[in-house]
Amino acid sequence: MTLRQAQDDAPAALRQAQDDEVCLRLDGVSKRFGSLSVLDDVSITIRTGERCGIIGPNGAGKSTLFNIIAGELPLSRGAVSFLGRDVTRVSAHARARRGMARTFQTTTLFPRLTVIENLVLALQAHSAERFTMLVPRSRYRARDHEARALLERVGLGTRADALVDALGYGEKRQIEILLALAQRPKLLLLDEPTAGLAPSDASLVTEMLKREHAGLTMVLIEHDMGVVFDVVERLTVLHYGRVVADGPVEAIRADANVQEIYLGGKV
């Protein structure tokens, strides 16, 4: 809260200049489930273009924090602002419309629709045609072409007309990310993108992230340290719902405290 007050005192022009560079700001975010405190006074500021990883042992509150950023969970205390505007009480879908996109730890696609249909849903989310009722979709060829082009870029062009249900797990994980990229987000939230993947498939996903992320602001939750070190430039460490370390990847790697609580005392 003190940060917020300080901000309010700053001259408007200066604040505007700062806000231009800030993509996402969490101010003293706390979350309690009954008597259980899951997040306690978490403050993180992510600048536009930054790629930030959030790590921490199981139960540290990473997923809860993600759900709060995305607007799926209400917070108990604190504030979230996105692109310079307070979104604390803005619904998940409205945040998405402002430019947030997220992926899920457990694959959350549309299993009984085709790969193309999955992507078209992401592509048409911000266009007026989503309310078009009396024109068949076959009149919107351009959308399908757009979706096919995206698929071909990640080498899944041949799977375009398959049901998502019929895809392999690795392919599903790629579509999971592709859907979020198709939203053309200003902020991409990735919840364990390589969860449950064999190393070879995991590297496929990592490569895809590295290829597509140019200039994209990204927040990544990940258990696989290889992926984290590969993709992000900054790390925030959560432990029992508190931020215990925050800084450039190299600094965090060397931090003795972090090694103690997260990496089990050694790297």
């Binding site: 879908h93 996109a101 849903l121 992401a122 009396l134």
Partner: protein, 325 residues
């Protein structure tokens, strides 16, 4: 021939056969049963839009159907609105407004909660029809409804009225097929599959469910209006919870998410309820057994079973195809 074109040919052939049936010496009794079949197929399709395409199991469809029917009766007996177009419009608007109000209440909840609220809403409307005697005539219902002229045609005879219902069914089917194939229809399927992802993509899931419920209400209203004219009488049975259940059974029997499958579901339910009830009071047990068999052995519905049996009859093997969704 492509699969799409084959369907169009089959549908056109079916429509022509349906048009010719009354001229082929089919007894009047069966013509009137078929009329009922078209009416129930319309209301079942309206429910299929929710169950099969939006993922909402709505138990208040009979209330919307009934509101359409009562709109005809009250409009005719009190306000002397009897012409085809105004009455149809009145029935559709009343049912849509009711559905819109239902949506405001029921969509505050999801899943089982939604189902229970829609049961309660249906009971409330049934209670109104049963007890608000000054408006609805209570248990006695409202009599004295006369079938209107449709343009130059006199449809007061059962054969003429059969065509009104058949054409109404065809129009509703085409409209709904276009709707579920539109970009909006794809959004509904997304909502059915994974609402959480839809929210993450930026879709207002509540709004799409609400629109689907309201649109579905309009189609239920069409069926209700046709039903009132068919019976020339409306009573509270038309909007009972039993009726809602029966509509859902038609959807499941016919094939969830197929729309045209509802014809088969409606055919079975209408013929069983009329033919068997003349023989035994326990006809619903037979319906139960058929329902059980379909759910167990053809969960895709009769629409999947019919071609399979047809092919077996001809000694062919059916290729396994992806189900229409």
């Amino acid at each position: 021939m492509s699969v799409g074109r084959r369907w169009i040919v089959a549908a056109a052939a079916g429509f022509v056969v349906a048009l010719l049936l009354p001229r082929l010496g089919v007894p009047t009794f069966y013509v009137s049963l078929l009329t009922q079949t078209w009416i129930f197929a319309i209301v079942a399709m309206s429910l299929d839009l929710l169950v099969g395409f939006t993922g909402l199991v709505n138990f208040s469809q009979a209330a919307l159907f009934g509101v359409g029917a009562y709109a005809v009766a009250i409009g005719a007996t009190r306000f002397h609105v009897t012409a085809f177009v105004p009455v149809m419009a009145l029935g559709i608007v009343c049912a849509m407004v009711t559905a819109a109000i239902f949506g405001l209440v029921a969509l505050r909840s999801e899943g089982v909660g939604f189902i229970i609220i829609t049961i309660a809403l249906n009971e409330i409307v049934w209670g109104l029809a049963y007890q608000w005697v000054s408006v609805s005539g209570g248990d006695n219902g409202i009599t004295g409804i006369v079938r209107p002229h449709v343009g130059p045609f006199d449809v007061s005879e059962n054969t003429g009225y059969y065509y009104v219902c058949l054409v109404s069914f065809a129009i509703c089917l085409v409209l709904l097929l276009v709707l579920v194939r539109s970009p909006f229809g794809l959004v509904l399927k997304g909502v059915r599959e994974t609402p959480r992802r839809m929210r993450a993509l930026g879709y207002n899931v509540w709004l799409y469910r609400y629109l689907a419920m309201t649109i579905s209400g309009g189609f239920a209203g069409v069926a209700g209006v046709l039903f009132a004219w068919y019976n020339q009488f409306v009573g509270p049975v038309a909007l009972s919870l039993d009726q809602s259940t029966q509509i859902l059974i038609i959807v499941i029997l016919g094939g969830i998410g197929t729309l045209y499958g509802q014809v088969f579901g409606a055919l079975v339910v209408v013929f069983l309820s009329n033919e068997l009830s003349a023989v035994t009071q326990r006809w619903e047990m037979v319906l139960g057994v058929i329902y059980f068999a379909v759910v167990m052995y053809a969960p895709g519905g009769l629409v999947v079973l019919v071609p399979r049996l047809w092919n077996r009859l001809l000694g062919r093997r059916m290729p396994v195809t992806a189900e229409e969704s």
